[in-house]
Symmetry: C2
Subunit: 340 residues, 2 copies
């Protein structure tokens, strides 16, 4: 029993397929006699008719689908974003096609091609680097796109990001209020907006608190990974620099710090206060619970989906970007410095 097609419905209802199509599509139902419409709908239901989205896509070059590009779903930062996106898209009949890029330019390229050939109507992209030819080209081509979490250097591409400057400033303020003056920073990759913005805000916050900047307290990590965070802190410790607190560029880098403290027999927060960024799931359960800048991940995804839908519906309109306010989740990984 082949599933029923529009023709089957039309035949059963005694109308032309085109009429059946109009009757079944809410957008065009008003073009059709009310009685006819309800008859068609009844028949469709009786037959268990399901429209074939593939045929529709082929005809209309649309798909009610968007591409959602994340670096890696096993990074706990991204699943909540995905859920936020879906929570907004589902009610309006859209779906997200999720791909992992592993931050690999070649993979990104082939994923984008594959998604475009599947007629996705737009992209939500969590993998932006500041300079990103692929995404820049996409935007130049007029492909609807919203960035999430990270931005491009080109501020014209709509984005939904945490207010990194505000968050990093909060972190520094928290530490200074505890009495810290020697605050190190494990900066994230400087080819990402988050890495750059948090580093800059860290510097400015120190200045604002009258703390002179010490370049030897800044290490830039090559990736947002625990391993990189660990080697970053080792470098700081081995340099002999003095510091009583460290701000990780994100929670993974902070996690790496925990590993090094363990390995060196140092204690957190007694020997070193540690602050993370993002407040991803489970950092509140670490040993010790990690003080972190909280970012509303799911809302970020939801907001990005709203923005994209908006762009799809009003192609001409000026694109907006959204900056979400962070908050600080103070936990046991931060405490006043020892000598106090």
């Amino acid at each position: 029993m082949r599933p029923p097609t529009l023709r089957d419905v039309a035949q059963q209802a005694g109308v032309h397929p085109a009429t059946a199509s109009r009757a079944l599509n809410p957008e065009t139902r008003n073009l059709v006699n009310e009685d006819t419409a309800s008859r068609v709908i009844k028949v469709a239901k009786a037959l268990g008719y399901r429209p074939n989205p593939i045929a529709r896509s082929l005809k209309t070059a649309r798909s009610a689908t968007i591409g959602l590009m994340v670096p890696d779903l096993t990074n706990p930062l991204f699943p909540p974003i995905v859920r936020g996106v879906e929570q907004v898209l589902s009610p309006v009949g859209y779906s997200a096609w999720i791909v992992n890029t592993d931050n690999d330019a070649d993979r990104e390229k082939s994923q984008v091609e594959s998604l475009r050939s599947r007629q996705v109507e737009g992209f939500i992209v969590a993998t932006a680097r500041l300079v990103h030819p692929l995404l820049e080209q996409l935007h130049a081509d007029g492909v609807p796109m919203v960035l999430v979490n990270r931005r491009l250097a080109d501020g014209n591409v709509p984005s939904v990001t945490p207010d990194d400057a505000a968050g990093a400033a909060m972190a520094v303020r928290h530490l200074t209020e505890l009495g810290h003056t020697r605050i190190a920073h494990l900066a994230g990759p400087q080819d990402t907006s988050t890495g750059v913005a948090r580093l800059r805000a860290y510097r400015e916050a120190l200045a604002a608190h009258g703390i002179p900047e010490d370049p030897s307290l800044i290490v830039t990590c090559a990736a947002w990974t625990e391993v990189e965070g660990a080697s970053g802190l080792r470098e700081l410790l081995d340099s002999g620099a003095e510091f009583s607190a460290v701000l990780g560029g994100n929670d993974m880098l902070a996690l790496g710090c925990y590993d090094v403290l363990e390995e060196r027999g140092l204690r957190c927060p007694d020997d070193l206060s540690v602050v993370g960024y993002n407040d991803v799931p489970f950092v509140d359960k670490l040993r010790p619970p990690l003080t972190s800048i909280h970012v509303p991940h799911q809302e970020m995804g939801a907001e990005a989906a709203h923005l994209l839908l908006d762009i799809l519906q009003n192609p001409g309109r000026h694109p907006r970007s959204v900056l979400l306010p962070p908050s600080i989740a103070v936990r046991q990984s931060t405490a006043p410095p020892k000598g106090r």
Copy 2:
């Protein structure tokens, strides 16, 4: 500039679209003169031709796509499974369409319908309950399907699951070797194969070690959540039953135990040893690091994808199921009982 179609390629190469189609498809290339084929291929490359999978799907009723149903991507158990699936599918040109069901039967139903209308060629399903009309129907309809992590009561549906019996036995043995004899179990939902199998194995393992079973040491949780785990342990503690160790049905239930220990001022492992199940990411970083039964999640996904591809390629063949051996990751949440 509309992207080039097969007709454009054919025209440029001076052949009929049908010939171009044959030349471009590796499966049918042998039907075509070698020179013609290479000419077509060259033109296609020059024009940047990308076949339109939608048109192909409409014609062939296939899609090189499978549906991947998970309960919730924000549960860290599932992203590694997803990655494992993709790791196997990508090289053979298949993709996975991921959906979250939240274990909701209505959502499941509409997701399945939506995926089927998109011509997915099969399903990998991580959301099975023992009795599951939707999946049973799907299987009865001959829809290619592989279960992962959890199984149906109907053992004829191919599955890739951890060896729950072996894992639970390992956990109990570990605890008895430490000297525990009063071992409680927070059993998972008994409508899932994992919940049932782990509970049964726990019982059998106790018996095998000559420990009499005590029903007051078993609490069944209604969901695989931290909240349920917490109320389970509260119930055990409030009952006045004596026990020095608890085996969580999975890591989330074990996490709930941590919360209750904190709230009651009890210490792990001093007052209570806790064992989890699954060894999901980050449980090794908890306070204290959680002893857990390790399951190879990514391999589970990879193996499920292999099985499904196998079914798609050999529709007639007898379906296999795979049981993956667990191992135990011993960490600081387990120690000899106090009185020792």
